[in-house]
């Protein structure tokens, strides 16, 4: 059975071009970038090249790029580092209700351990942060506004340029988690008023375990990991040379091929969405249908049935997707992002995220749609909610 992978928002395969540049780092250029000798210098040169590739991709300077282990670490660093460095200025952080747990859980912890106060901005039905609410939330003690560039569940793009402008007009720092966005959304930290930005290589066809924190020069930030002098003594630890080199190449390719990939993915996604709407009843598209969204994501709620059941039935016929309900991941709560958009909890339980990638084809979409028609039919036959809707005999 040829498996079909439709979970590219979770992670992507490493592209061949990326693997090619990574391979020598395991054998020939294996030196410790901090060593002064030839082997060390050779590794250090490759890290420098990657740093330039990242800086160029987001309009930053090389001195503003810090390599980390991924998006979660970068998010943690910003929140903890700003709370520490600006504690005399204030203790208030503004974020949104649909951020990644890497941010929300970290902020929540700081409310207990460091007296941080937080305002969670509400979200519109289509998944956008309410800008008016942001303006109202600002206090003299606000030290950080953090809003993601693109949402990992419904793919909505936030107006980060405007949010960053509001932050700067009020002398507040602005961080954006751009982990999902970088593949499809042009990023320019200067034009978009960004002080901190998080990236993770495995979301853009690079390796896992490596990411980036961009910090605008001149802005204070607490040290993250102490030890050696790597990353200007801010984030110690021997460089993951192969990972960093892979990240650099991957982001270069992502920017180089962005327009072409966006076109391919949005056509595939649009075809999928229209097929679902025409072949399955009682299904709802979550998020926005405007152009302010990732081209790779389609999130649907299937009424009367539950997400994990659909996910596992799809898995049985060779299709990998993600359940909007976090049921399968050990928590029984449905997606906090979908609930934040005002989606009724019953529908949030029945939601699935399909995220397309460069290896997906129209033929695969046809197979997925055909499978979904059969599976939703079958699971609805099992559902007491569906029977009721059809005028069944059972009364609640």
């Amino acid at each position: 059975m040829d498996r079909i992978y439709l979970d590219h928002s979770a992670t992507t395969p490493v592209s061949k071009e990326v693997i090619e540049v990574m391979m020598p780092c395991f054998t020939e250029v294996f030196g410790n970038g901090s060593s002064q000798h030839f082997h060390g210098r050779e590794a250090s040169k490759l890290v420098d090249i990657a740093r330039k590739q990242v800086a160029d991709a987001i309009g930053a300077k090389v001195s503003e790029i810090y390599f980390t282990s991924g998006g979660t670490e970068s998010d943690n660093w910003v929140v903890r580092g700003v709370a520490e460095a600006y504690k005399t200025k204030g203790n208030h952080i503004i974020t949104s209700m649909i951020e990644h747990p890497a941010l929300l859980k970290t902020i929540e912890e700081l409310t207990r351990s460091h007296g941080i106060e937080v305002t969670m901005l509400p979200i519109s039905k289509e998944g956008f942060v309410c800008i008016d609410e942001l303006k109202k939330a600002i206090r003299p003690t606000t030290i950080l506004i953090t809003v993601m560039a693109a949402n990992n569940e419904i793919g909505t793009y936030q107006d980060i340029e405007t949010i960053g402008k509001i932050a700067h007009d009020n002398k507040i720092l602005f961080h954006t988690d751009a982990v999902q966005a970088v593949c499809s959304m042009p990023l320019d930290v200067v034009a978009q008023n960004i002080d901190f930005l998080s990236l993770s290589a495995h979301k853009f066809y690079g390796p896992k375990g490596v990411g980036v924190l961009y910090r605008k020069n001149g802005i204070k930030l607490g040290k993250h990991i102490t030890g050696g002098e790597q990353e200007r003594s801010m984030r110690a630890g021997t460089h993951n040379t192969a990972g960093i080199v892979g990240l650099g190449k991957a982001i270069e390719i992502a920017v180089r091929d962005r327009d072409k990939n966006n076109k391919y993915l949005s056509e595939l996604r649009d075809y999928f969405v229209s097929e679902i709407h025409s072949k399955i009843e009682n299904v709802y598209f979550n998020g926005t249908k405007s152009d302010k969204r990732m081209p790779s994501v389609a999130n649907f709620s299937f009424e009367f049935i539950e997400g994990e059941s659909i996910l596992l039935r799809l898995d049985l016929v060779g299709i990998s997707v993600s359940s909007g309900s976090a049921c399968s991941s050990g928590s029984l709560e449905p997606s906090h992002s979908l609930l934040a958009t005002g989606l009724p909890i019953e529908l949030a339980h029945g939601s699935l995220r399909f995220s397309f990638g460069l290896s997906n084809t129209k033929k695969q979409v046809d197979y997925v749609v055909k499978s979904l028609v059969e599976i939703t039919d079958n699971l609805r036959e099992l559902s007491p909610l569906f029977a009721r809707k059809e005028g069944g005999t059972f009364n609640v």
Binding site: E308, L316, S331, P334, E381, L382, P384, L385, T393
Partner: protein, 124 residues
């Protein structure tokens, strides 16, 4: 995360449906929690459950527990069906992940609810 037995029951559940002229119907859970389980049964004059069917809105564990619960009660007297606990359901499924144990509790409750409905109708 699920064992083979659970996946088998989930992929091909037995006794799916609703008995139109049921003698007892039980329905537990609610949609906002993500699980609704409904069991309908035919019960003969001697108190033996001669048929049982289920309809469930929920995850794979909820569907699998419903399926085995109906299999476990068919042919049993209502008194022994009432003795079935959620642990018996879990055992039949050869185990469930900890966060899915509540599904087996729903199955036990659905059986008890259906039998209570039968008794109420018969004024037993």
């Amino acid at each position: 995360m699920y064992n083979e037995k659970v996946m088998q029951e989930f992929a091909a559940p037995k006794n799916v449906g609703f008995i139109e002229d049921a003698d007892g119907v039980g329905k537990v859970g609610n949609a906002s929690c993500g699980d609704i389980m409904e069991i309908s049964m035919k019960i003969d004059d001697s108190g033996i459950i001669t048929d049982a069917k289920f309809r469930t809105f929920g995850c794979a564990a909820a569907i699998a527990t419903s399926s085995v619960a109906t299999q476990m009660i068919i042919g049993k007297h209502i008194d022994s069906a009432l003795n079935i606990t959620n642990s018996d359901v879990v055992e039949t499924l050869e185990g469930l992940p900890p966060q899915k144990i509540h599904c087996s509790v729903l199955a036990e409750e659905a059986i008890k609810d259906a039998i209570a409905d039968y008794k109420a109708k018969k004024s037993l």
